[in-house]
Symmetry: C2
Subunit: 675 residues, 2 copies
């Protein structure tokens, strides 16, 4: 197989299948996700990010975790020198574990020896801190520290244990049993003993143990762990957790049982990790009621509590969901970790149902949330991902621990630094979320230049060579390079936004395909060539009438990519809040962005101290026509501090209908010509 | 003097002047506020609230403070039985002090013996907890508790001391020296010794000590205290406080020195208490730069960071100001305490400058914030005051300590219960903010039915009898019932919203008066009758184009009162987010509210799980015409849980200009007739 790639190929590649080297492996159902080794990204959007993740982010996270003292915490437990002072929050152990998970996936996907060495060094240090009975936590349970399980509401002990289990699952599925897997097994046994049917009927303030146990149970064929996960899921929602200051039980989803809830609410990452664990438990247990509950919650949350970027979480106060239709762009919290968790839930639902809408949300979230957090160099991250930045950020400390970044600049590390390692583990396992196999049917849910060799259940493999400039370009060429010698079907996702997509079947005929799943005509066999053409011209996107916060505004998208206006792309002195969108100017593609027509508001008067409310509606302001290039939201703030908007107010909607100043404006054609 | 009043008259009334029985007494300048005893509210809006405050709220607060254990905290210090467990936050002492201040003003204004007995009982208990050297705090500095001044960032020790001083000022100015005054003096001496020029160069994380010291210094003629206040004001803003988790130094205004700041930012109550103290210091010290700085901050904050209700604070996370133009109605924090603090600042600036705009903001804040917090029975309160309630509140515990209420229902008490006592002290001293005297010129800044006997600087008094149904009715009749026998001038505030106001001078002639200060023609003398007519018909109010969060919306006001739409006033099943405002329907007054035309949106479809963003802008929805009565915002949620909006989207502004469905709608006349 010829590979003209801009990315170094891993030591192991297509053909070296270490199934099931992937994150989610239900014990029920025939549909499975791709093993990481079944697909090699050869170039393009995700290949570049996966490479930066390996070459920069792992070391970056490792250095900061060390610098922050979060690894020393394990050493002190091992040495018996714990005490009242301990650097980091209660949950800092979990950052080590998420990085370990990232390293395990990366090594499993690529066989990179340096990555494995980093992983094993971490295993040594955390392993030395494990207690005789399996308990492992650096914040609780040792001299000078609070007692074990003494603060289930906010202590995060089970949360940390869950992340350790996910790391061990990655290792077990890419390498097999080893010390990390044994450590996690002992932790899991300790958890089951402590919180099992005969133990303490409690849950953790932050869900995560549920999916950690379920996946570890699957990986180690230990149904006890899955059963313990089920217990945790079912206990929750009955007010089993105690009160916490200033926030009610919805904060940690202890207000309503999972199977009864209508929508996600409270702390977004908590809600989403819990939902992911609930799907695992529901699928393995054949619990259709529980599965339907999560699907129902997904549907309402997506319809009413999800941003255009796929981001979730509208409140800073509790890092949580707002009410239905409450989607402020400026105060969008949209925590990066919530987007990782959202993908975890949607992927599980996709595996369970084969419904394309879950892949649609995954794509939106990948391009506009997961890709937005890391800086291009992989050494700084967004924690919150607002859709409007009112004031240029400047408060980020470039070489220090930052508060949760709200300053419009990516930061190298945070007081609560959950996001960098969450991005790292997601990028390292990107392939796992891209395709499914079910018998002799292979479905490509995400599109990227890649070489695939997909093992088929009945033996043999389907080899595909995908080449595309997606998402900037919409043409996706798929060549079949290997087949099992029997009929195999290939399905391709046509994204929900792709109106006017066309598919060229192996016989050369071209047809329109609607958003959804397009089935390639007939069986595919080596030598076949399939071309999917997706329309990625810039397009306008209008918010639902019920979203108060962006009433009168429009956004621009290109393919799966949300665009935004940055102040750096406006004439000097003009902020992104001082322009209005001119619908009469035709959009046109420019690079991976779009050129749009705008009207600049007049320069505001000096401060006069009058309240900003008037007895009459101002006529729609008429200003100078300007044009600007919107750029992908995932690249915003890469060129320094500035202001930004995804949704731009449309000329003429100032609170009074029908006052469009179109007649007084320079025409759209003039705007373009004047530049 | 005949008094036909619906309110019981106090034992002391006009004529028993205990000047300077008022909160703010600068040592520089001839303009002074009214002593509490110079005005008796005889009936109407504020008279009722002042009565409820006395008859219900004082006892309510006292009971809850006792029940919460915040008074026991003092007893334990006195008994030497303090320990690690202590009910309440670090700042719970301050609630006792604010209630004491309220009781002191109330007793000073009315001579009510029961109120004084309540006060003195509290003085006994807090006094017993004072240390030998004057230090007084129940959270710090005693066995089992953290060391004194060991957590200036979050410990609130100086904050509590400041509130104690304000209580003592109220007592000193209404009664004279006594035990409470002595307690505060010893606290102040201890503070000056600890933090004076030769002491620790630090400040408190929560400003309040500044204005407490300044006013106590004024009351006791002790310039050392004012000087100490100046030190605290000047130290701040240089990064003198240490870091706190997740929030930067702007949270407690330690980012920029007061005299350099352009706008208020960070925690709203902190910013406003600091500004009030800064005005005190600036005025007494002749520090024009500092005074100008606060005026500048006031102007920009009012213009860009203040809600229609006068509310301040747009963020829940830090209870703080947002950026310029960031005024979300649903997440408006608008803490009740911030409104009290805002009045404190504006009143000080009014005394310093005689500028009417400060009185305008005070009126707006009184009617729409201070009056909104307490339930009509004075036994439940709003903490946050949003301008939109999306989901009917139902989570408030009617007889328990609540988290900060966000549930759309007033709560009897909160974990952080700063607001009830802050309302209590403000209502008890309402008169002090209503008028000024400067030589022989008396200015009425707030209008209410009242009997006044204002002592004039050169001897004698001006007696006025004011009768009005304001704010529901705009006619204010003023009879002069006493004069000093020499020329006296009377000035009346014409509110900024009062376009078309008319004034009838003593000679019977009537003239138009513009918003601002109207001077009654000629001198006033006994027997004169003046009538000010303010237009209080319902009017539309439009937000500034730059406020993103209410783009396309309009509000309705009547006089100083902001109105709102409550779901209880809509047909069953119709929420306040499901209607649009129909501008073509003429507003008309109804009771103290307004009848308006609306269009009900069609009932939304079932949840389909589609993202709420579309490829085309929906046409403006056309629905059934309904009409509804908007009610004063200060009364919202009095009729049970429901949804609410102050700003209502206008028909036809759905994100695309000029799509008004007017032609398809039922006409406004039809709407009215059909009801």
């Amino acid at each position: 197989m010829s590979m003209s790639s801009s990315v170094d190929m891993p030591a192991t590649g297509p053909g070296t299948i270490l199934a099931p080297a992937r994150p989610v492996v239900p014990t029920v159902g025939t549909r499975r996700g791709l093993a990481l080794t079944e697909m090699v990204l050869t170039e393009g959007f995700w290949a570049v990010r996966q490479q930066v993740n390996r070459s920069a982010t792992f070391r970056h996270c490792l250095d900061w975790i060390e610098r922050a003292g979060w690894l020393d915490n394990f050493d002190r437990v091992a040495a018996g020198t714990t005490g009242p002072d301990r650097p980091g929050w209660q949950f800092s152990d979990s950052e080590v574990y998420k990085l370990m998970e990232a390293l395990a996936w990366e090594h499993g996907r690529t066989g990179d020896g340096e990555v494995e060495a980093q992983l094993l060094a971490l295993v040594d240090r955390i392993g030395a801190a494990q207690d005789e009975d399996g308990y492992l936590n650096t914040c609780f349970g040792h001299p000078g520290r609070p007692e074990r399980w003494s603060d289930l509401e906010q202590g995060h002990e089970l949360y940390c244990a869950g992340h350790l289990m996910q790391a061990a699952v990655a290792r077990a599925r890419t390498h097999g049993p080893d010390r990390l897997v044994e450590i996690a097994r002992r932790v899991a046994d300790n958890v089951c003993e402590t919180f099992g049917p005969d133990g303490r009927a409690a849950v953790c303030g932050h869900p995560e143990i549920e999916l950690g146990l379920a996946e570890l149970g699957r990986a180690l064929s230990e149904p006890r762990y899955v059963e313990q996960a089920r217990l945790f899921v079912d206990r929750r929602g009955h007010g089993v957790l105690g009160p916490i200051p200033l926030l009610g039980p919805a904060y940690f989803q202890d207000d309503v049982p999972v199977r009864e809830a209508e929508v996600w609410r409270g702390h977004a990452v908590r809600a989403l990790y819990l939902a992911a664990g609930a799907v695992d438990v529901a699928v393995d247990g054949g619990d259709e009621e529980l599965l339907a509950a999560v699907q129902r919650q997904w549907a309402r949350t997506v319809e009413r509590r999800t941003y255009l970027t796929g981001g979730m979480g509208a409140h800073h106060q509790d890092e949580g969901f707002g009410e239905d239709w409450e989607l402020p762009p400026d105060r969008a919290y949209c925590e990066t970790c919530a987007s990782v968790a959202s993908i975890m839930v949607s992927w599980r639902l996709l595996l369970a149902t084969d419904e394309v809408r879950y892949a649609d949300l995954i794509e939106r979230t990948l391009y506009n949330m997961v890709a937005t957090s890391p800086r291009a160099d992989g050494r700084a991250f967004f924690y919150a991902n607002p859709l409007q930045q009112r004031v240029a950020g400047g408060d980020v400390l470039p070489d220090a621990v930052n508060p949760r970044a709200e300053g419009g600049l990516r930061a190298p590390w945070f007081e609560v630094s959950c996001c960098p390692t969450n991005v790292a583990r997601t990028l390292a396992s990107w392939q796992a979320y891209s395709a499914t196999v079910d018998g002799d049917v292979v479905t490509l849910w995400q599109h990227a230049s890649a070489d695939l060799r997909v093992a088929l259940d009945d033996g043999g493999a389907l080899g595909l060579r995908v080449r595309t400039g997606y998402p900037e370009h919409g043409r996706i060429v798929i060549e079949v390079v290997e087949g099992p010698g029997r009929p195999v079907r290939l399905r391709l996702r046509v994204p929900s936004w792709a109106r006017g997509a066309r598919l060229q079947d192996p016989d050369g005929s071209v047809r329109d395909v609607a958003p959804g799943v397009a089935v390639v005509a007939g069986d595919v066999r080596p030598g076949d060539r399939i071309v999917l053409s997706l329309p990625v011209e810039p397009r306008l996107t209008w918010p639902d009438e019920r979203i108060d916060a962006v009433r009168g505004c429009v956004a621009v998208e290109r393919g799966p990519v949300v665009l935004c206006l940055e102040s750096v792309d406006l004439p000097p002195g003009l902020g992104t809040d001082a322009v209005r969108f001119d619908e009469s100017v035709q959009l046109r593609a420019e690079g991976d962005g779009a050129r749009v027509g705008l009207v600049a508001l007049p320069v505001p008067a000096e401060v006069d101290g009058e309240l900003p409310f008037r007895a009459s509606s101002a006529p729609a302001p008429v200003g100078q026509a300007v044009s600007a290039t919107l750029v992908p939201y995932h690249r915003w703030a890469e060129r320094g501090a500035g202001t930004m908007r995804v949704f731009i107010p449309v000329v003429g909607t100032t609170g009074r209908a029908g006052t469009s100043p179109a007649d007084e404006r320079v025409s759209g054609a003039d705007i373009r010509d004047r530049r």
